[in-house]
Each structure stands twice: as structure tokens, then as C-alpha cells.
Amino acid sequence: MSSPALECVNVSKTYILGRDIEVKALRNVSLRVDKGDFVSIIGPSGSGKSTLLHIAGTLDRPTSGRVLIDGVDVTELSESKLTAFRKNKIGFVFQFFNLITNLSAIENVMLPMLLSRRYTLREARLKALYLLRLVGFPEDRLRNTPNRLSGGQQQKVAIARALANNPTYILADEPTGNLDVSSSAEIIATLKLLNSFGNTIIIVTHNIELARVTNKILFMRDGCIYEEAPRSFLEHMPMDESTLDAKRKIQLEMLKLERENIERLFKNRLISSEAYEKALKSIEEKELKVKQ
């Protein structure tokens, strides 16, 4: 029953920015997502979530390690094989919806089906219609282009489009990142429903509500992936005494500059004496706080 949809084995990704400067976006990440899973990946900004998603989506290649999708090792496939692979096996949902601007809602959903050449125009249209109904897209907006749709509606179209070719899994990068609370709730419910219908979904999110409805939450930090939440995200970022001291110095120097500025303004009669007193008092209070 639980055959793997995605397997990442010791995947690393290193960006080389210049001589001696490299960013280790992923460090030896191993991950297995089974068919039917609903997995969320959470973690701070810059922890490598998008990078992992791009590699899982064959948009990018790992520096080392292997990626298996539906049992096929795609690590070394040629660009054109990858294009075909993406078309038939992977659905993407993005934070900024990324619909094709000059195609209508229904045409956006039809596009992957027509690109795959497996559907006739009629079939594609009908299936697009079903998919849009499934995600709760309003039927009177089918012919609207994306610029005449709300964010929530656009994201529904994007989800329907991701499902078009019955992908092995859907990858969603912060699908609610650009939506208000109620639209987010709708999208979350929709994804949950689609998963209950057997679709495998992998999402990256900052939205705890969304993470909570998934079957499995993975945590990322500094390019590493954890099954359990690291004891505390904050625990890993203490400020040591020396940096704290340096920051205090900066704050004091800045306040000194403020004070000089206020005095100059007062001397040149550019502010009233009350304003001067008030500003001075606030600066003194801040200085006290630093020294405590």
C-alpha cells in the first residue's frame, strides 16, 4: 500500500557565490514521502525549503545525492526527459499563484493536459471543469483571466492545474503565503480534501494551521531536515555576550547622534523647548535601558 512517491537520499545543494563563498542550502537531506501522504515542511526563512522543493520537482539538480520519483532515479536524466517527467508526474502550486496571464482560468487548467498530448480538446475542457468544481472555483469565472480573479480564486485554479495530469505528487511552496485568513482556510480545506481522495501532497509553509492538518510535519533548519521539532527554534539562536555588547555599543552611539541632532535643532530654534525636553527624556530613558 505504501510505496514511496518521493525518495531523497543524502541530497546536498551547495551554491557557489564566488571564490571561497558558498551557501550550503541543503546538507545531506534524506526524505521519503509515500503515496497518499500529506507532508508539510516548516522552518525559518532561508533554511532551504524552497531549494528542497525545487529539487523534488526536478526544476533543480542536487549537488550530490539521489532523487527517486515513483521509483525512477531522476538525478541524471537529461533536460528534455525531465521536462516530460515534470509534465506527467509533478504538479506545482506557488506562493504567487503563477497562472499564465493571458489564458483564462479554464485554459490554465487545460494547458498541462494539452501539453501532454494525452487529452483531446473536449476531454481537457471537461476534465478542467471537474477539477475546478472539485477545488470550489466559482463557475461563472471560468473565462476570467488571472488579473480578474481574487488571490484565493487564482490559487484554486493553480491547484486544479497542478492536478491536471494526475501527478505522482503535488508540491506547494507556501500556498497560503499570499492569502487572507478565510481564503487560506478554504485552500487548506481543499488540500485536505484532495489528500483524502488519494493525492500525495508536499507543502512548504509558515502557516501553522496548514501544517497541523497534514499527516506529517518535517522541520528544516540550516539545510538539515528533522522528523521532530528541534527542542526550540530559539534555543539554537542565542546571542552571546560579546555580540550583545557590540549591539549595546551601537545603540548607545546611535542615541548619542540623536542627542546631538536634537540639541542642534533646539539651538537653531527649529523645535520648541517642550519638544526638546520630551525628546531628551526619551533618549535618556533608552540609554538607561541599555545600561541596565
Binding site: L59, R86, L99, N102, L103, L115, R117
Partner: protein, 386 residues
């Protein structure tokens, strides 16, 4: 097939979505193509006209001159007419003078030959060799206020006090050839006997026109003349045509250089437009690739955009160009110079098709590079692009 249509539709919507830019780019192409097509039409007319006037003047005749451009003794005329195959040798005297104080070109030929040089549209030809009668082009007669029956005073270097001639006929304004010979001066035709006196060329001719019995004999006659009289220069219609052709080719080269520059400008415009359109769509290209659009399909989309621009511009430009060519031939050229240039306006599909093909080829080539770049965009980078 459906996929291709879908991609074409994508390209068309993209262009339709930015009508102003599309329109301006197509207009740029149209201007280049219009200049090319109109010049092409003028050149076609020019060629037809030159061929025609050389043909009416010469037909299967042969022109004989002295190699050193000296006058030829009239005695040679008799010798030449005895060569087998020669029907007739016609002496021709040419020179310049003043008619009513205007510069004029004097053409003197035997009166029975005058009509093969000048087409009379009003009046009659010269009545007798001794008559003090002349023919003038209608246009210059009108300009000087001269009509049939008027008397004009012809002055030359050798007849300084002038000789009065009665204008008996008005000729068609000479073709291009005549314009090239006489420039803005008018051509006054008189009998050869009067010409001898006016130009002091008694017993000589400037050139001899030889008519042959049978057009297929021309080359044989030419060879015979060359053999017997090595110091005579012989030219046939073909030689003159070839000479004219090489002049026309030079004109064409200039014309097409100008056109090529405008096409390059239009091509750069298209390249700019397609590049801009790709710049704006980097993210969307990333999305297209992420849902499985292949590089070849991306290439196809943007090449299609370029070709549609070319098609639009080429069609507009060809139509404009044909109109412009018509205006130039019918309105501008006849009035631009002091002598009239009347070229035939030849409406053939050739300029239209040429314009269209060149526009499409130019826009295809100029959108190739940006489109290739677009097809090579890596989806990850495109998706991170803001």
C-alpha cells in the same frame, strides 16, 4: 496539433495584450518594407521603360560611330548600305544650339526616317528636305508658348544670326533615353539637309543607323562591318540594353542598400520588442517550463510572435509600398525634374510577395536570438525572478 494551435494562440494573445507595442513594431517593419516595395516598383517601371524606348529607337537596328568620335564621312553611308543584309543606312547628325534662347538639342535625320525617332502627336511631319520646318516636344512648346504654325529662331555656333523654322508638329516627350541624351533641353528635329547647315556638318554624320533586312542577320551584319571598317564602333540594341542594364543595376544596388538599411532597422525593432516581451515574462516562462513546456515549445511561442509581427508589418508595408510606388510613378517623378519622366506602373504580385517574404524572414531572424535565449532560461532561476 492542438498543442501547436494552443501555443500560437498564446503568442497571439500575448501580442494582443500589448497592442501599442505590437502596433509600433509592426509599423516599424511596415515602413521598411514600404520603402523597399515602392523602390522595387519604381525600378520595375524603370527597367520596362528603358527596354521599351531602346526597342522603339533601335529595334533590330545597328548604330555605327567612329571609334574616335569624329564625324563619319557621308560616303561611308553608301558603302555600308552595300553590305549584304543591310536594308538601309541612315545618317544622323546631332548637336546643340538655342531655340528662342532656350538650350536645345538638335537632331537631324532624313525626313523619311524622322518618325522612327520622334512620335508625332499633333500636326504633321516635315514636308520636304529643303523646308525650314521642325518638330518640337509638346511639353517644351507649351512651356515656351509655341504652337503649331509658330516660327522659332534656332541659333547655333555656325548660324549665329539664327535661322527661322516653322513648327509643323509636336512630338511626344521623348522617353527616358531621350531625356538622358538631351537632359532638360528640348529636342528639336529637323531634316538632315537643314541640320548640315545649322551644325556645319556638310557631308558628314555623327552616327549611322543601319536597318537590316532580317533581324536574325544582325550579328552577321555587325561582323561584316567590323571586318571591313575596323575603325568604326558598332553597337546593337543588345549592347545598348546591356549598357543601360549596368546603369540600372547600379541604381538598383543603391535602392536596395537603402532598403536593406531600413529592413535592418525594422529587424532591430522586432528584436527589441521580442526581447522586452521575454524580459517581462521570465517568471511566466519558468512557470510554463515547470508545467512541462519544452524548450522547443518556448522557442516556438516567441518565434511565432516575431513572425506574426513580420506578417502584420509585411502586409501593411507591401500595401503601403504599392500605393507609394503608384504615387511616385504617377505624381512625383513626372514633376520632379524639368523634363518629364513617365514610367509605367506595373502591378504584379512580385513586389507584394517579396515584401511579405522579406518582412517575415527579417522578423524571424531577428527574433531567433532572443527566443533561443528564452528557451534556455532555467526554471528555478526564472521562478525566483521578481
Amino acid at each position: 496539433m492542438i498543442t501547436l494551435l494552443y501555443l500560437i494562440r498564446y503568442a497571439m494573445r500575448d501580442l494582443w495584450g500589448k497592442k501599442v507595442r505590437t502596433g509600433l513594431t509592426a509599423l516599424g517593419i511596415a515602413i521598411g518594407i514600404a520603402s523597399l516595395v515602392s523602390l522595387f516598383i519604381v525600378s520595375l517601371g524603370l527597367r520596362a521603360r528603358v527596354g521599351e524606348s531602346i526597342n522603339t529607337l533601335l529595334g533590330s537596328s545597328i548604330i555605327v560611330r567612329m571609334r574616335n568620335s569624329e564625324p563619319i564621312s557621308i560616303y561611308v553611308v553608301h558603302l555600308l548600305s552595300n553590305i549584304p543584309g543591310v536594308k538601309k543606312a541612315v545618317p544622323v547628325i546631332i548637336g546643340s544650339g538655342l531655340v528662342e534662347s532656350n538650350n536645345a538639342f538638335i537632331l537631324a535625320v532624313p525626313i523619311d526616317e524622322i518618325q522612327s525617332f520622334q512620335t508625332i502627336i499633333n500636326g504633321s511631319s516635315i514636308s520636304s528636305p529643303r523646308a525650314l520646318e521642325c518638330l518640337m516636344p509638346k511639353e517644351s512648346a507649351t512651356r515656351m508658348g509655341i504652337s503649331i504654325g509658330s516660327t522659332v529662331r534656332v541659333v547655333t555656333q555656325y548660324a549665329q544670326e539664327g535661322v527661322s523654322f516653322k513648327v509643323v508638329g509636336l512630338s511626344e516627350v521623348g522617353g527616358l533615353l531621350q531625356a538622358a541624351l538631351a537632359g532638360p533641353a528640348s529636342v528639336v528635329a529637323v531634316s538632315i539637309e537643314q541640320g548640315e547647315k545649322l551644325l556645319n556638318k556638310r557631308g558628314v554624320a555623327d552616327m549611322i543607323l543601319i536597318r537590316v533586312n532580317d533581324p536574325s542577320n544582325v550579328s552577321r551584319v555587325v561582323n561584316a562591318i567590323k571586318l571591313t571598317y575596323p575603325n568604326l564602333a558598332v553597337s546593337t540594341e543588345e549592347d545598348v540594353l546591356n549598357q543601360a542594364q549596368s546603369i540600372l543595376n547600379t541604381i538598383d544596388a543603391v535602392i536596395f542598400t537603402i532598403s536593406a538599411i531600413s529592413i535592418v532597422v525594422a529587424g532591430v525593432g522586432t528584436m527589441n520588442s521580442v526581447t522586452m516581451s521575454i524580459r517581462e515574462k521570465i517568471r511566466e516562462i519558468g512557470v510554463l517550463k515547470s508545467i512541462g513546456t519544452s524548450p522547443a515549445q518556448i522557442l516556438f511561442i516567441f518565434l511565432t510572435e516575431g513572425v506574426i509581427l513580420g506578417l502584420l508589418g509585411g502586409f501593411l508595408g507591401s500595401v503601403f509600398g504599392i500605393g507609394l510606388g503608384y504615387v511616385v510613378i504617377k505624381q512625383v517623378l513626372p514633376r520632379m525634374f524639368r523634363f518629364e519622366i513617365n514610367l509605367p506602373f506595373i502591378l504584379s504580385p512580385e513586389p507584394f510577395i517579396n515584401g511579405l517574404v522579406i518582412a517575415i524572414a527579417a522578423s524571424f531572424l531577428s527574433s531567433l536570438l532572443p527566443s533561443l535565449n528564452a528557451s534556455r532560461i532555467r526554471p528555478v532561476e526564472a521562478l525566483r525572478y521578481e
